[in-house]
Symmetry: C2
Subunit: 243 residues, 2 copies
Amino acid sequence: MIPPDHPRYKSLVVREHLAGCARNGIVSWEGLIAHGRGEAFDYLLGEKTSASARNAERTAAALFRTARHPVISVNGNTAALAAREIAGLQEASGALVEVNLFHRTEQRIKDIEVLLTNAGADVFSGPAERLLPLSHDRAWCRREGMYAADVVLVPLEDGDRCDALVAMGKKVIAVDLNPLSRTARAATLTIVDEVTRALPVIAEACSRLTDEECQALLSDIDNTRFLKEAYDEMITRLNHALD
Amino acid sequence: MIPPDHPRYKSLVVREHLAGCARNGIVSWEGLIAHGRGEAFDYLLGEKTSASARNAERTAAALFRTARHPVISVNGNTAALAAREIAGLQEASGALVEVNLFHRTEQRIKDIEVLLTNAGADVFSGPAERLLPLSHDRAWCRREGMYAADVVLVPLEDGDRCDALVAMGKKVIAVDLNPLSRTARAATLTIVDEVTRALPVIAEACSRLTDEECQALLSDIDNTRFLKEAYDEMITRLNHALD
């Protein structure tokens, strides 16, 4: 259907896949709009992992490596885009994988859990409780899962929940292409990169980093610097847009 | 459902409206993703009409005022977001309103025509032909409508069709929040502004501009300058993101 020589081929294939996932309920309508926002910011980043983002990804790996109880929180968009990459990161990090949705129904939870399981992830499931200090359905999680976590990876998250997890004393790693978002500013560490590019870099670093390298990366996590470096990437691209 | 004190209330209401329009077929899945891209760029513009965009909107009004046969091309997203504003611009400019879709079915055409008619527009309808030099369904238009136009307003358009219309010798006015898009670069005049903000400004200028003002605005249309000014707006915002 989409001609492989189209200048935006890869982007169009991903869009068609996400639209299919929206049709069968994995992705919400709002998730499609959120994907578009990500596309725009990724375009301004040149659709590649910057040196700064790679550094943030290595820092995320160090947080995973030194965590007591790390959890990867998965929503509809993350599952639709990166189920295999989630499974790979789980294998490298030993983290729990838990589904947490804004537009929550039992059916969606189950469908996403099946999708992740089919991609090779070991999903932490079972009855959820309303444990996070939030008024909407994202308050639901498992007592032995995200509620007990010390490090939580939240790809493609909303600002409220990121705030709530930080306020509970957890170290929160966000993956967010928008470096101006509330999530990006609230997180302990923000990776400004596309999720399918970011997760394999974190996974590889989980396997390769020495303990000394982990300590060095964790000695001084400056999220504001990572955000500033992302703004600078975008500014450079805008400055050369007419070249 | 959405709390009115939410910091992103207006944006969330628009998203919910568009999701509803996707459910009933007015907006395509890809249209939801495109809306997200627009949101991201609008965020970088501070979600307001810049002085540069206002100048482009006045120039668009001058193009309408001096046109022999102006046409406003409407797609699903434009109809869902701005049907009333389209009707208002038609009243001020005397332009034809014609529906033109990328994801084209007779049912979608009809539904969008009804939506526009209910909002007060006088829709130019009837049998279409494959008249534009394009391989996909956007080639369809009416011989006495867009095909015969000298000035065409294409809000939220794709790059291919903008190129094709320019190649046919028409003056093409794009409304596009992404100043880096192929549409923005190919158009005769690009308005980098959100469509519901842009259309009323064009409509008002259609009524108010004197003939002398029209001539002055048209004497030197420099689209590259408008794009450069939009990049500069975004750069300013990124530079002050951490203030």
